[in-house]
């Protein structure tokens, strides 16, 4: 169990409501930005966690999403481009009892901050990463990002982007992340539930949030969020449930060896033959993360949302404290004068 939630269980946390987390700062995102929804869901979920707000820290890098800490009545730091993960690592290592949240974007986390991103995942600090993915650079007004699809026409790519995009979840799994999830700004319930799960996971929780930039990349994810297409194009993952999607929940995913195939339940396929989602299965999680087809492709797989993978693995900060504790037990508390004097001294009279 998360140490921060233990504090709450002891009854020390005052009751908090969403408006206790609102600051006196005017929110300055563009009207209609997906960030508003994410802020609202975070402000809804955090009071439920029972963590006193003075024990919560939001750390961000640079980008539209990184203004987030200014709007949360907690401790916060708006750091520099790409480095929120590195700043958070130092904070969590020195103050493990704090609840640390990282707010970052696709450019911040995956381009300029790519190195720190993979390293925080392998170290597995107990923090939550909210990666707002809008597949565009918004704050710099519309250049393609490391998640923009090939061919994306943007301010810096008038003839189409040449870059192959990152698949953030496959990247996170590759870095041995212990909690990998995807959700979206336009499904408040799903977003809230994912945040709850992310917080209760002990380790680095990596939550990719599809977020609409209505100014520079409007509609990038409409196919997954609009009523008409959502059911057909998304696959909502539920633990221990078969992978079913489609207009009338009439399609399923079956594993043919390691190859996922779409079967039609209406045409007689049995739900018993379908892939049953197991959050603990790393092999299957890797296959799921590769459900990443361009939706314009014929017979493409639906895009999964939910918790892809969860694993319990020791956290860096705990290991660090254990090591310090065992050295302390073995050597006793260090004495400064002995350290200064060293092993051999001589006296001159």
């Amino acid at each position: 169990m998360d140490s921060t939630t233990q504090v709450a269980a002891n009854g020390q946390a005052p009751k908090m409501v969403a408006k206790d987390l609102v600051t006196d700062q005017e929110v300055r995102w563009c009207p209609g930005c997906g960030d508003y929804s994410i802020l609202k869901q975070v402000q809804t979920v955090v009071p439920e966690l029972g963590i006193p707000r003075e024990n919560i820290v939001f750390i961000s890098g640079i980008g539209c999403s990184s203004r987030f800490p200014y709007y949360m009545e907690t401790y916060g730091m708006h750091s520099i481009h790409g480095r929120a993960t590195a700043v958070a690592s130092g904070l969590k290592a020195s103050r493990p009892e704090l609840s640390v949240w990282i707010v970052t974007g696709d450019g911040d986390a995956l381009s300029i901050g790519g190195n720190h991103f993979i390293h925080i995942l392998r170290r597995n600090f107990n923090v939550n990463i909210l990666l707002f993915n809008n597949e565009i650079y918004g704050l710099t007004k519309g250049q393609y990002s490391p998640t923009s699809p090939e061919g994306a026409v943007t301010k810096s790519t008038p003839n189409g982007s040449l870059d192959h995009p990152f698949n953030p979840l496959a990247l996170s799994l590759g870095a041995d992340g212990t909690f990998i999830a995807r959700t979206m700004d336009r499904d408040p319930k799903h977003l809230q539930e994912t945040l709850r799960r992310a917080n209760s996971h002990k380790g680095t929780s990596m939550v990719e949030i599809y977020q609409n930039c209505n100014v520079f990349n409007d509609g990038a994810f409409f196919i997954y969020t609009d009523k008409e297409t959502k059911k057909l194009e998304t696959l909502m993952l539920e633990s221990s449930k078969p992978l079913i999607f489609g207009e009338n929940a009439d399609k399923g995913i079956k594993l043919d060896g390691f190859k996922p195939t779409i079967v039609s339940l209406a045409d007689g396929a049995s739900a018993n033959d379908l892939w049953i989602h197991d959050e603990k299965d790393a092999v299957k999680a890797n296959i799921l993360a590769r459900f990443f087809d361009n939706p314009s492709k014929e017979n493409h797989l639906p895009r999964p949302f939910g918790i892809f993978y969860q694993e319990d693995r020791h956290c860096y900060e705990d290991q660090m404290n254990n090591q310090m504790g065992s050295v302390l037990t073995k050597k006793g508390k260090g004495k400064l004068d002995e350290l200064i004097a060293g092993k051999e001294v001589w006296v001159i009279n």
Binding site: G76, M77, L91, L98, V345, I348
Partner: protein, 628 residues
């Protein structure tokens, strides 16, 4: 046979061999023993960047010079009196460091045809045989052969392992030559190889064999004695710069009550601070080897935000990478210490060689107006004080603070009359736990130092947000207001300038308070300048020495001191950096003296320049009919 004994004031010995020959260990063992015997001393390790360059080649030569004496020792010695060489390449690379008439002790085995070829010496030009060393006293010994013979029967070691221990034979011999006992080294070996009795026995046996060799072999008829130095009364230890810096940080941690969080990425010559601190977990020190230089400094920003003392160290290229984050630390106004153990630059430059060429980087190397305080260490032991003072400034003035060291003092050693912890000043972090305005908390409300209060996560009701964007005075809220920006830039600069009210005034290291010439130095040139000035003054020249520790802000009285002399000479191991700042700030015509060879100044180089300038002045005065 009888051996004569000669008493000397001071001796400089240079051990040189292949980088696999263990010359650094030999040198440090001799150093530790000299220290314990009460000599004043100074050392200079000089090694290649490659861990094992091709064996026997010039590129692979590793050297260690120790200067020890019964008199005051300020430098590792301009030239050595004794050159110990394990092979031909070592002789070729180091001969120019030996005084005329000096002693060469050579391992014959290292001068065989193969070694001559590797050192690019023609087979018929073996320097031990062709008379080219006639200016020196040459003693040869077949170290390899003797070593193998000494361990032939019962050591249980293979030839490779036996050969690897031959430095102990050499060390033993030099101990004999200088009348030193073997106790310290035996103790050291016992600790190091306690679990490997074969290797321990072999090393001790060779150490003694070397000593006895001196005793019995007739070639060596003279031994030398160097009495203990008349140093100030007190308790001493021997210390290297990086070690002293690490201990200084721990002392500051204890005196401030802040645990240290040390985030760092391996880089020569700063890594030893990380190695050292990683051993101090029982002092509450957290060390974190980050994925890169940027993550290293960002991790300490996180730790400082959390109320710990964040410290990072690197060298030139790594400092360049940390630049943006230092700007963030400056804007956040959080205490952090950034140690730059300078090395030859630019770019990768000369990783294992020394230089003072990062001063301008430390001074100006950030975007925007972002002045940071800078403290420079001037000797190995002084790294303790410099690190401690950098922490004190950082914490009490809520700012990142630079500490400058360099490869020379980081790896060099000297005796240190160390302080008692109770005599170190207390450091007071400006923590805050209550509102500081009407019913609210203003994170950028300032005290008389102009520094802001430090509210750390976990403190109830003081939740606040800080960031790199320009902030409104006192509230810290984002502000793009033009007047506010100019006000804040000037306020932050004034905050750093005000540190001058809290640091000691500049003192003269030696010489008259007014006069013809002041030599102004900073950092590791201290010993060479001190020696040069002492010598020049002894010959009647009017020269004084001031060494600047606080490079930003400068001590308040520095300008006044500079104006007391006709001439200012500024030796620096760079192309003239502090001299630019001094001229800019004080409008004085300071004269640079630059050495950019990856090597420290010799005191002679500085002495010669002093004399040259003072003689010119004399000539000019003479031709004007003036008196001296």
């Amino acid at each position: 046979m009888t051996k004569t004994n000669e008493v000397l004031d001071s001796v400089a010995i240079r051990f040189a061999g292949d980088s696999g020959d263990g010359m650094q260990l030999t040198g440090t063992q001799f150093t530790d023993t000299a220290a314990i015997l009460g000599n004043d001393l100074s050392t200079f390790p000089d090694f290649p960047a490659e861990i094992r360059a091709p064996q026997g080649t010039l590129a692979g030569v590793s050297g260690f010079q120790i200067h020890f004496g019964s008199v005051e020792i300020n430098t590792p010695g301009d030239y050595c009196d004794v050159l110990v060489v394990m092979n031909a390449a070592a002789l070729k690379a180091n001969l120019r460091e030996l005084k005329e008439g000096g002693i060469i002790i050579a391992n014959i085995d290292g001068f065989d045809p193969k070694n001559l070829r590797l050192a690019n010496i023609a087979p018929d030009q073996n320097p031990l045989e062709n008379g080219s060393l006639s200016k020196y006293q040459v003693f040869t010994m077949d170290v390899t052969k003797i070593t193998r013979a000494a361990l032939a029967n019962d050591s249980g070691l293979g030839v490779k392992e036996i050969d690897r221990s031959k430095n102990m034979f050499v060390l033993g011999f030099i101990y004999w030559m200088y009348n030193r006992n073997l106790d310290h080294s035996i103790k050291f070996l016992t600790e190091k190889f306690g679990k490997k009795p074969d290797i321990l026995d072999a090393n001790i046996k060779l150490l003694k064999a070397g000593y006895n060799y001196g005793e019995t072999v007739e070639t060596f008829t003279t031994r030398f004695t160097v009495e203990p130095a008349k140093m100030a009364p007190g308790t001493y230890r021997n210390i290297m710069g990086n070690q002293a810096a690490a201990i200084g940080l721990v002392a500051a941690s204890e005196k401030s009550g802040l645990p240290i969080f040390y985030g760092s990425y391996p880089i020569t010559p700063a890594s030893d601070i990380l190695h050292e601190l990683s051993k101090y977990k029982h002092f509450g020190v957290r060390t974190y080897q980050a994925e890169d230089e940027i993550a290293a400094i960002c991790s300490i920003i996180g730790a400082s935000f959390g109320g710990h003392l964040g410290v990072t160290a690197s060298s030139g290229p790594g400092i360049a990478l940390k630049t943006e984050a230092m700007g963030l630390g400056f804007m956040l106004e959080l205490p952090m210490v950034v140690i730059d153990v300078q090395r030859g630059g630019p770019s990768t430059g000369l990783p294992t060689k020394t230089e003072q060429s990062d001063l301008l980087q430390a001074y100006y190397g950030r975007n925007g107006e972002a002045p940071l305080p800078i403290v420079a260490a001037c000797s190995p032991a002084d790294c303790f004080d410099a690190a401690f003072q950098a922490c004190k400034i950082a914490i009490e003035h809520m700012t990142p603070c630079f500490m400058l060291s360099d490869g020379f003092i980081a790896n060099g050693a000297e005796p240190w009359m160390f302080p008692k912890s109770e005599d170190l000043p207390k450091i007071t972090p400006p923590f805050i736990t209550e509102f500081n305005a009407d019913g609210k908390f203003l994170p950028y409300k300032r005290d008389e130092k102009l520094s802001r209060p430090w509210a750390v996560p976990g403190v109830k009701d003081l939740q606040h947000r800080i960031g790199g964007i320009e902030k409104q005075h006192e509230t810290g809220n984002i502000s793009y207001d033009p007047e506010n920006h100019e006000f804040m830039v000037k306020l932050r600069e004034e905050k750093v300038e005000r540190i001058a009210n809290y640091i000691p005034e500049q003192k003269l290291d030696s010489g008259n308070a007014k006069g013809k010439m002041l030599v102004v130095g900073w950092g590791s040139t201290y010993g060479a300048i001190r020696s040069a000035c002492t010598k020049a003054r002894a010959e009647g020249y009017d020269v004084s020495h001031a060494h600047i520790r606080y490079l930003r802000p400068f001590p308040k009285n520095l300008g006044e001191i500079l104006n007391n002399y006709d001439m200012i000479l500024m030796p620096e191991m760079n192309n003239g950096q502090l001299v630019k700042i001094i001229r800019d700030k004080y409008f004085v015509p300071a004269i640079p003296l630059n050495k950019i060879m990856g090597l420290p100044f010799t005191s002679h180089e500085i002495y010669d320049k002093i004399i040259e300038l003072l003689k010119v002045e004399e000539t000019v005065f003479a031709s004007n009919g003036a008196t001296k």
